[in-house]
């Protein structure tokens, strides 16, 4: 089921939380939603789940508009809100049964679905405990179980791994990836590594506008532009090496990073690659390469670049 946002705008009073954004998510895609605090991530997610009504613009889930038929849209969405609200007084299993009934799961299938959720989310030992008695990580699992119980076509997760320990984080990521193969998933996160590990596509928004959209490789390439190499050349005088590097015609910039160890950072010209010319130069002068590493722009750098002002 595809999700399509068309010129979505949401204002609170005079403040534009989401400002005219449009994007589309296809079935089988896991979209990571990134942005600084208050960028409009949660507002966008709440609009998709029909909790908030757009001030203008439209959202379609599987071709159904949230403005015209919210109840039909809600049936296909599994949603884990950021604060993970739960009825603390209810035992886990009763809570899941309550949600199953609200989701109109046929009576004969309810037990099966609940058992499945308890297995998938690892709640076997806690199913009869009241939610109040659970730790934060287990509560998060209950939140995930209630979002998944009706086997939704679309999954919206607002910071799904907060409060989980590293093992659980890996489990949940695997689960999201598995679900994401057939379903449409949108997840928001503050942890860039997590988004990079789980998402096929990343969308960065800032002040209510989309500032970057693409896979993590694409984003990195976009931000970086030219190739950057970190190279250590030994066996010669470092100033001579520096001069020679500057004379290579594919190189646009040379920077001496650590003069004592003669490590340089080399930026190539547009579209050019400098590894081979450097190697040839060394061969010619009788120097040798101690190390050669391509410097990748990290997603953090991309994030900072597009959201800073």
């Amino acid at each position: 089921m595809d999700i399509k946002l068309e010129n979505l705008t949401k204002t609170y009073g005079f403040q534009r939380a989401v400002d005219d954004i449009s994007f589309e998510v296809k079935t089988g895609e896991v979209l990571g939603f990134l942005g600084p605090n208050g960028a409009g991530k949660t507002t966008t997610m709440k609009a998709i789940t029909c909790y908030l009504t757009p001030s203008s613009g439209n959202i379609q889930v599987g071709g159904i508009s949230v403005l015209e038929n919210p109840d039909e849209v809600k049936k296909h969405i599994g949603y884990l809100p950021e604060s993970n609200p739960l009825y603390y007084e209810m035992p886990v299993i009763d809570y899941l049964r309550f949600v199953a009934e609200l989701q109109c799961i046929p009576r004969e299938k309810t037990d099966e679905r609940i058992a499945e959720m308890i297995r998938v989310c690892g709640l076997k030992g806690e199913k009869h405990k009241k939610i109040r008695e659970l730790s934060k990580g287990y509560r998060q699992r209950v939140g995930l179980a209630q979002a998944l119980i009706h086997d939704p076509e679309v999954l919206i997760l607002d910071e799904p791994t907060t409060g989980l320990d590293p093992n659980q984080i890996i489990e949940i990521r695997e689960l999201i990836k598995k679900i994401g193969k057939e379903k449409t998933v949108i997840l928001s996160s503050h942890i860039l590594a997590e988004v990079e590990a789980t998402c096929d596509r990343i969308l960065i928004i800032n002040k209510g506008k989309i500032v970057a959209d693409g896979s993590s490789e694409q984003l990195r390439k976009q931000a970086q532009g030219n190739e950057i190499l970190k190279v250590q050349i030994l066996g010669g005088d470092r100033n001579e090496v520096f001069q020679s590097l500057r004379q290579i015609n594919t190189v646009s910039l040379v920077d001496m990073l650590e003069p004592d160890e003669s490590i340089f950072e080399i930026q190539s010209k547009n579209e050019a690659q400098s590894a081979r010319p450097i190697f040839d130069m060394c061969k010619e002068k009788g120097w040798y390469i101690g190390q050669l590493t391509p410097v990748e722009t990290k997603l953090e750098d991309v994030f900072r670049e597009v959201t800073a002002n």
Binding site: C50, P81, P85, E89, F98, Q103
Partner: protein, 238 residues
């Protein structure tokens, strides 16, 4: 309809799980029993086989108890954010409100059913007007429904339970007694309006055994106004 009942079931369970239901029932039976049988203008004082004195006491006890039951119903969901969880499921605001309304009404009806022994006892003491008793109970139920809707409405306005409780009492006291007092003091049309708005006018006429569609319309209007008002407040969340 199924979603409404799902909500009703959960609300009722939470009343009983949180002991709220037991406290309410025990307190209600205690108060009304004490003043009906033991103290003041009780049943024996009237010298007549009638439940009138019970009805006028229940009229006051329910007035105070109902806001205590309804105050957390929406306010707490707003505070903990569970309302967001509910509203992103395929249920409408109307279904949530009416589910909660039915749950509280069911609890009040349970409490009233437990006073049936009063009726049986009094019926043993002398000839009793069965129709009047039945209408008296109907009056109590209608009045409770009206206050539940006022309580739900104030609970939907805030996420602070105490404010919801006090606001419900504040609105309620107008219907309960202030309009009645005003109707005696105000001249002409204003007096008539106050007289019509006063809950006691309608409650007394029903509990005396007079079944008039005017009274029924009065109660149903308050109920609908409260429900629609709460729905509007919930819908206006953004």
């Amino acid at each position: 309809m199924k979603s409404i009942l799902t909500i009703t079931k959960r609300e009722l369970r939470s009343f009983f799980d949180s002991l709220m239901a037991y406290i309410m029932i025990v307190a209600f039976l205690g108060f009304s029993g004490f003043f009906t049988w033991i103290q003041g203008r009780d049943i024996f004082f009237v010298n007549q086989a009638s439940l009138q004195s019970f009805f006028s006491i229940a009229y006051w006890t329910l007035f105070f108890f109902i806001p205590a039951l309804t105050m957390r119903q929406i306010a707490e969901e707003r505070k903990t954010g569970t309302i967001e969880m509910l509203l992103t499921k395929p249920v409408s605001e109307w279904q949530i409100i009416s589910g909660k309304f039915l749950a509280t009404l069911a609890l009040i009806i349970i409490a009233l059913l437990l006073t049936i022994p009063y009726y049986i006892t009094v019926a043993q003491l002398g000839p009793i007007d069965h129709g009047a008793v039945l209408l008296g109970y109907l009056g109590l139920i209608l009045m409770s429904a009206a206050y539940i809707c006022i309580g739900l409405f104030t609970s939907s306005l805030t996420n602070n339970q105490i404010i919801a409780f006090l606001l419900a009492l504040f609105i309620g006291i107008f219907f309960h007694i202030i309009f009645d007092i005003l109707s005696n003091g105000l001249p002409g049309i204003l007096g008539n309006i106050s007289h019509y708005l006063s809950m006691s006018t309608h409650f007394e006429s029903i509990s005396r055994g007079v079944f008039d569609s005017k009274d029924i319309i009065y109660f149903l209007s308050i109920i609908m106004l409260g429900l629609v008002g709460s729905e509007a407040v919930l819908t206006k969340r953004n």
